[in-house]
Symmetry: C2
Subunit: 289 residues, 2 copies
């Protein structure tokens, strides 16, 4: 029995994925619907999903949650799609499970997984952006996961630009230009009220170059802040649109990133797919042991 045996949990707005993980391999996996009626129901549902796995020999449980995290106190500060707000998450889950618990933002978990077991292998300074309903991301610096807010989707790239959706009052954030939701908005603008991001991709529509331009501006800006040698793009929209976004993104990266980083940086597709969050949560769990 390995000390590396952990449970990783990826909490999404509609489903909970929980996996038994050893050395980055998922040995068993369960999927449950996300309870959204109350915070209590959600925490209980998470514990129930974990208990469906064989917990013999498990040393810790890690959770990737769609929320900002207060790392010092293990608190989930706020979440758009789930009923979590100012919850002492680590304490609540430890009380339910009796095992060491760690919690981290879901996109940060995915980035850590790609760094350790996916497209980030071999790097020491790595970044991942997930372009889905929203935009998230994570950073590895000098081989260590950078654990702060890193709400990279809420970096401003267009001062006084497009409003963010939902609870964010900001304007011109990356999320408002590079998410699948933003691509749907662009599709409605250029294709009419029934247009979707999927239509843009199927038609190889030139509007994707504009989205790629903004993505490249965001990546170039983040290179100047974090200095990654490789950038991974994941998320439903990001993976589907990658080939169409990349040319314009590369051009913008070359302009915005301080030379010679724009030429040196590699921009790659994420490799781990839907299991990235799970695997990354397991890596975060290991750090709690």
């Amino acid at each position: 029995m390995s000390v590396n045996r952990v449970v990783g949990v990826d909490l999404g707005g509609t489903k909970i994925l929980a996996g038994l993980i050893e050395d980055g391999r998922v040995l068993a996996e369960v999927e449950r619907a996300t309870p959204t009626t109350s915070q209590e129901a959600l925490l209980d549902g998470l514990a129930a999903a974990v208990r469906e796995l064989p917990l013999d020999g498990v040393t810790a449980v890690g959770f990737g949650i769609p929320s900002r995290v207060d790392h010092r106190h293990g608190i989930a500060l706020g979440s758009v799609n789930t009923p979590l707000r100012d919850v002492p998450f680590e304490a609540e889950m430890h009380a339910r499970l009796g095992l060491p618990v760690a919690v981290e933002n879901d996109a940060t978990c995915a980035a850590y997984a790609e760094y350790a077991h996916g497209v980030g292998r071999g790097t020491v300074d790595f970044m991942m952006l997930t372009l889905g309903t929203g935009v998230g991301g994570g950073i590895v610096t000098g081989g260590a996961l950078y654990r702060a807010w890193t709400e990279l989707g809420h970096m401003v790239i267009v001062a006084d630009g497009e409003p963010c959706a939902g609870a964010c009052s900001g304007r011109g954030h990356v999320e408002a230009y590079c998410s699948g939701t933003a691509a749907n908005r662009v599709a409605r603008e250029v294709l009419g009220p029934n247009g979707t991001a999927r239509d843009l991709i199927e038609q190889r529509h030139p509007a994707l170059a504009e989205i790629g331009h903004y993505l490249g501006i965001a990546i170039g800006s983040l290179i100047n802040i974090f200095g990654p040698e490789r950038v991974a793009i994941g998320g439903g929209f990001g993976v589907a649109a990658f080939d169409h976004l990349l040319p314009a993104a590369r051009t913008a990266v070359l302009r915005e990133a301080l030379a010679p980083a724009g030429q040196d940086v590699e921009i790659e597709l994420a490799q781990l797919g839907a299991e990235a969050g799970l695997i990354g949560a397991g890596l975060v769990a290991l750090e709690a042991v």
Copy 2:
């Protein structure tokens, strides 16, 4: 004789400041003109400045330099105002001085000093922006200095906006809107060809509110990335214009930062003045011991 006795050096475009430091106090200080004729002359000049100080009992020497730094290899990657480019800085200075050497970006050093001995005391998540000829900055997360590029002045805030000066090909970077150089440009636009940033400040000119707006957008964006509880503003222009920039900056921070961070964050004047870089370089030296 304390193990905490170090030398900190702040390298600027026109002068070298070197100080003998113990527990954050500067015991002795020398100032020399910066040799700019060649890289060799500059490195020799830095060593000469250090040797003017009493080195008895000194355990390490830290350098704050106006350059991006490859932290793994102690290399100065590139500098706008000094002849440093791809220099194995730590090795070169160690060879000259025979003492452990550490190197860090100058604005990062200043931020670390303010965190440890200035306006950042009592925080664990702290950020500083210096608004001078350019814009620099540094980040402390969970009580530790974040050591990556953090060229915060080259974060994009206005996609396709004002061009950066000098060697940077980017557009719409913080530096092009919030530096003293940018304020001089604004002054020429609103006051005529002889207008300066100083004139704007003396006249309490409304154009400063626009600069403050962009500063607030940058701060809000950086809060979403790094989650500081307190932000310090330093640098020649930043300190002189602080009171005039702050109202508009606060309004923009409230809009851009994910709630409730915009309300909670403190925005304060830096306290250590011109010695911040020196003291921070000394702190970085301590980590090399």
